[in-house]
Symmetry: C2
Subunit: 212 residues, 2 copies
């Protein structure tokens, strides 16, 4: 999931430096007004090297969010059995405890919120998270991840979480996300879903998972 420090001390350093420098420039002058060449130069490397560490300019900005997502997923898998929404809420609460005030995340959030195109891009990045969540839900209910109900629930949970985090960060991160999340999740009734094989499909396609 993350990087394996096989030999790479330099690698990690360069990557981290690029991230730090990039974030600072974005924060100061706005995402759109900073070129990848500038970031690379400020980090003392070539532009080509930047793109060896990050697949895109967006990837650089969201590198940290990706890590947080992985962490959140781990917390989910550690939750005891019970309703999905309860487990999600518990995981949110635990993550909040582990990083009560994440400077970096707050900066990224501010940058994203002041650039509409980034708000859109973030939604695109949610796709991976949604897939991960679907796998987790599917395991809990012992069904396949491409089950319709599973995908609905995953999509809906991710959307609700986004709004909560947004609201929380818009309030400059004061207080806790947990009350917000609790309120938002109350609108989601995962026990109303049956998680039985999708309707309109009398015969599920034998062992071939549809590509998503």
């Amino acid at each position: 999931m993350t990087e394996s420090p096989t030999t790479g001390v330099r690698r990690t350093n360069t990557r981290q430096r690029l991230f730090d420098v990039g974030l600072e420039l974005f924060a100061r002058r706005g995402y759109d007004d900073v070129t990848t060449e500038e970031i690379a130069a400020a980090a003392g490397v070539s532009q080509r090297t930047l793109f060896r560490h990050f697949a895109s300019k967006l990837d650089l900005l969201f590198a940290d969010a990706d890590v947080a997502t992985d962490e959140f997923t781990e917390l989910l898998y550690r939750q005891p059995p019970g309703p999905v929404t309860d487990a999600v809420l518990a995981a949110i609460a635990e993550q909040q405890r582990s990083l009560p005030l994440d400077e970096t995340a707050a900066i990224v959030a501010r940058i994203v919120n002041e650039t509409p195109s980034l708000e859109e891009a973030r939604r695109g990045y949610e796709r991976r998270f949604e897939q991960t969540l679907a796998e987790w839900i599917a395991q809990r209910h012992a069904v396949r991840p491409d089950n319709f109900d599973v995908r609905v629930l995953a999509a809906v949970l991710v959307a609700a979480r986004r709004v909560c985090v947004n609201e929380w960060q818009a309030a400059t991160g004061v207080g806790s996300v947990v009350p917000l999340a609790s309120r938002a999740l109350s609108a989601i009734d995962d026990e109303a879903l049956s998680f039985s094989p999708t309707i309109d499909r009398s015969a599920p396609p034998p062992p071939s998972g549809r590509a998503d």
Copy 2:
């Protein structure tokens, strides 16, 4: 919302021709393998003209979806009072009736589904729809569109709708979306939300709506 045919016969023609040609090329060779210059040339105009009609290559692909979204919004506003989920389901059903088989939408769906980056981009495009939905919900409940509960509900509804449409289109558009939507919406309990002023905000900022 849409375009006003002030003088534009040429304008509309060119735009439509660009869209048709573009879609055909995308369908045949894939979104990424078609350049905007090719589309323009195939439509008999310059690349610059293409970008005068469409803000981006993505905009060209999603031009039709945008229209469908506007139409859907209109249907929503015509629904009788009652739970939000009921109104959404009714609007989905009505739209399905009005365009039981939309060739163009099906082609776009196929193009999007075979290009992962487009699936992400589509989520970005949902932002506008979500905002529209939030305004509609806010009006129904006589609260402000930036109300937390409103935004949660809007986000969750848009997410659920996406999964339904995806599932429906993945089944090559057979049958109706309505059963899927009905099932998905059963997981959303909008009456669990109070729509009272957001918690953690004792004093709402007087008349200045926060930019979203």
